[in-house]
């Protein structure tokens, strides 16, 4: 018995039980309605036939008086399946007919009996089954004699029994049906839910790479599992991003923090001139500022990569941003004798964030100016804005040493500074930020070219922008 409550805890079993109860109630109500309707029809038919019989008897009585009536009643009483007949004197003594005994008080009625009464047919007195029931019309004859004509209700009783049996049968079938539904549909669904439960328990226990089972049937359960899996995927990537950020912060901020501390310590040790203290403190502040900048950049990158940045986006004109950034860097480029060339078709809008795109482009251009060496023709950087297919490409090409194909992927990672670039100042975060910005815009950052320079391309999807 202990197993039954456990089974009832499953949704499938509860649903089956609920359906079963509902169907049963409906069936019972229907049967009750049908039965009472049928009985009413039956009763009215019975009454009609009894009334007809009474008419008949009355005609005979009018023609032949009481003796003729008694004769007719005697004759009809003996026929099989006869009506109930009874002629009694005013005191209720039975004179003729096929009724030997009947419920007391019935004969005091006039007209139709109010309700079915019990009676015994002639020759059945003392029988145990005194449960014949009947309805009857009672008529007072002119000489105070009482005539009763009735009809047995055995047939409706049988009808009721048939209905009751049918009902039991139907209920049985429904119970079996309910069980089958539970077994085949419910249990199967249950099994799959159990699969999902097991998988999620495993995932909760720490197996973050675990995924929910997908049967391939493409039904609701599969869709649910697929969505949950996509959610897990997203959580895992956010988690990974978060972990990476904290790792990076721990790892990469420790170095400058140590340097900062050393510098302060160094300033304290030994006797120094005021100017030296001042220098040391200024150096400390500069170091701290660089730390803050790096820290802000890491935060920004991780927010953008995680995709939970709330930066607003709007239609922005890449041509205008390009012009702004070029204008901003022009003097720097000129000082470094890097020739800047711009190729743009004019106003080109994408959905994005002006600040972020401006920052990404300035980081890229900054790099290009730093590393442009010039192969024979003097250092130069070419900025090109173009529409290709369903993308808008904003590229910066320099003619510096470029980045070997094997290193390109690494070059956009946080804090990665390729060997060749160690001699240049920088935090190693510029391209990582640009990449994060492109990720935020639903685009990508591409690095190409090797010997004849590096081309960094920001590819924006058109008509889309928000990550």
């Amino acid at each position: 018995m202990a197993a039954i409550p456990a089974i009832m805890k499953t949704t499938a079993a509860r649903l089956s039980a609920l359906y079963l109860i509902l169907f049963t109630l409906c069936a019972v109500a229907l049967v009750f309605y049908m039965t009472s309707l049928s009985l009413r029809i039956f009763t009215s038919q019975t009454q009609a036939s009894v009334a007809e019989e009474v008419e008949d008897l009355a005609r005979i009585y009018r023609r032949g008086g009481l003796p003729a009536l008694v004769r007719l009643v005697d004759r009809r009483s003996r026929q099989p399946g006869a009506y109930l007949y009874l002629i009694a004197d005013p005191n209720g003594r039975i004179l003729a007919g096929n009724v030997e005994e009947l419920e007391p008080g019935v004969l005091e009625n006039d007209g139709w009996t109010q309700r079915p009464f019990w009676y015994d047919r002639f020759g059945e007195t003392g029988g145990i089954e005194r449960n014949h029931h009947a309805i009857a019309q009672i008529i007072r004859l002119p000489n105070q004699m009482i005539l009763l004509v009735g009809r047995d209700l055995g047939e409706p009783e049988r009808f009721r029994q048939v209905v009751r049996r049918a009902l039991m049968f139907a209920l049985g079938v429904m119970a079996i049906g309910g069980f089958l539904i539970w077994f085949f549909v419910g249990r199967r669904a249950l099994k799959r839910i159990d699969g999902v439960t097991d998988a999620s328990r495993r995932i909760m226990a720490g197996d973050l790479s675990g995924r929910l089972p997908v049967s391939g049937a493409g039904d609701e359960f599969d869709r649910l599992s697929q969505n949950l899996n996509a959610m897990l995927e997203r959580i895992a990537s956010l988690n990974e991003g978060l972990k990476q950020v904290s790792d990076n912060i721990a790892h990469d901020l420790k170095t400058p923090l140590t340097r900062l501390r050393n510098r302060a310590e160094d300033a304290l040790s030994g006797r120094k001139k005021t100017a030296e203290y001042r220098d040391a403190l200024e150096g400390t502040i500069a170091e701290a500022d660089q730390l803050i900048r790096t820290f802000n950049a890491i935060l920004m990158i991780s927010r953008l990569e995680a995709g939970y940045s709330a930066e607003p986006t709007a239609e922005v004109d890449l041509d205008a941003i390009l012009a702004d950034v070029v204008e901003l860097y022009e003097p720097v480029a000129e000082d470094a004798s890097v020739k800047l060339t711009v190729e743009s078709p004019g106003r080109t809008t994408v959905k994005g964030n002006r600040e972020l795109i401006g920052q990404a482009l300035s980081n890229i251009l900054d790099n290009a100016i730093k590393y442009s060496a010039g192969n024979g023709e003097g250092p130069m950087a070419t900025l090109k804005l173009e529409r290709r297919g369903d993308e808008v490409l904003l590229s910066v090409a320099d003619n510096g040493p470029g980045i070997a194909e094997a290193d390109r992927e690494r070059a956009t990672e946080r804090f990665v500074r390729l060997e060749e670039s160690r001699s240049q100042p920088g935090s190693g975060i510029g391209l990582a930020l640009a990449k994060a910005v492109m990720h935020f815009h639903g685009g990508r950052l591409e690095l190409a070219g090797a010997d004849n320079g590096l081309t960094v391309t920001m590819a924006f999807p058109t008509g889309a922008g928000d990550a």
Partner: protein
């Protein structure tokens, strides 16, 4: 200048109090939003420095409340939230400037001084004058000692901003924000190069320097 600092971090607040005093200003400190609101509402301050996250009453609500009561004291909002969106919300609430923590005090000081002056400066003037330097905002022309100086449009805006805040320290980020309208942090100091070009144009051939570099802070346009 009287400054009210509404900041719940005691150490930061007392540091600001001291640093403002050293810069020649009087700073009062309120440790929570309600006290800050009451002080700002009753007192006669030149600038309010309001931290965004405060106990008892949020910094933005303090600013919005003051503005609703018709108080027009310039407000600089300090915040640890630094996304563009946060800045926009801060300025919408009635803030006049927004600075992200951690910040350099010189940056804060420069901005506070500019804010205090803005309340009095006549921005509507069409001709700015600093010493013998003159800038006509209508004809987009500049002259020094009667000699025309040819400026690129951006150089003109740069000079215009410097002249509007003549005698005040202007930081590099303030220039990037107000002249280029970007809030990011350029890796190389591109602003310095722009300023030195401008300096070449307005100082070369003239005997006195007028655009000064303030070490560790920024620039100041000032006639001796």
């Amino acid at each position: 200048m009287k400054i009210l600092v509404i900041e719940d971090d005691r150490e930061a607040a007392s540091y600001l109090e001291k640093a403002f005093a050293e810069a020649g200003h009087t700073a009062h400190v309120a440790g929570d939003g309600e006290t800050g609101f009451a002080l700002a509402d009753a007192g006669d301050y030149d600038v309010l420095v309001v931290d965004r996250m405060l106990p008892r009453r949020d910094g933005l609500s303090v600013v919005a409340g003051l503005r609703a009561r018709g108080k027009e004291t310039p407000v600089l909002i300090l915040s640890a939230l630094g996304e563009v969106d946060d800045r926009v919300t801060g300025l919408k609430a009635g803030g006049d400037d927004y600075l992200t923590k951690p910040y350099a005090f010189r940056e804060l000081l420069a901005r506070v001084e500019v804010l205090a002056r803005r309340a009095t400066a006549q921005e509507a003037e069409t001709i700015y004058r600093t010493g013998d330097l003159e800038l006509d905002r209508l004809s987009h022309s500049a002259r020094r000692a009667g000699k025309d100086i040819a400026l690129q449009p951006r150089e003109f805006r740069l000079l215009e901003y410097l002249m509007r805040h003549a005698g005040q320290v202007v930081t590099r980020t303030m220039l990037l924000e107000n002249v280029w309208e970007y809030h990011f942090d350029p890796q190389t100091n591109v602003i310095d190069v722009h300023v030195s070009r401008l300096r070449g144009k307005i100082e070369k051939g003239f005997d006195k320097p007028i655009l000064h570099t303030i070490r560790g802070a920024g620039y100041m346009l000032k006639a001796d």
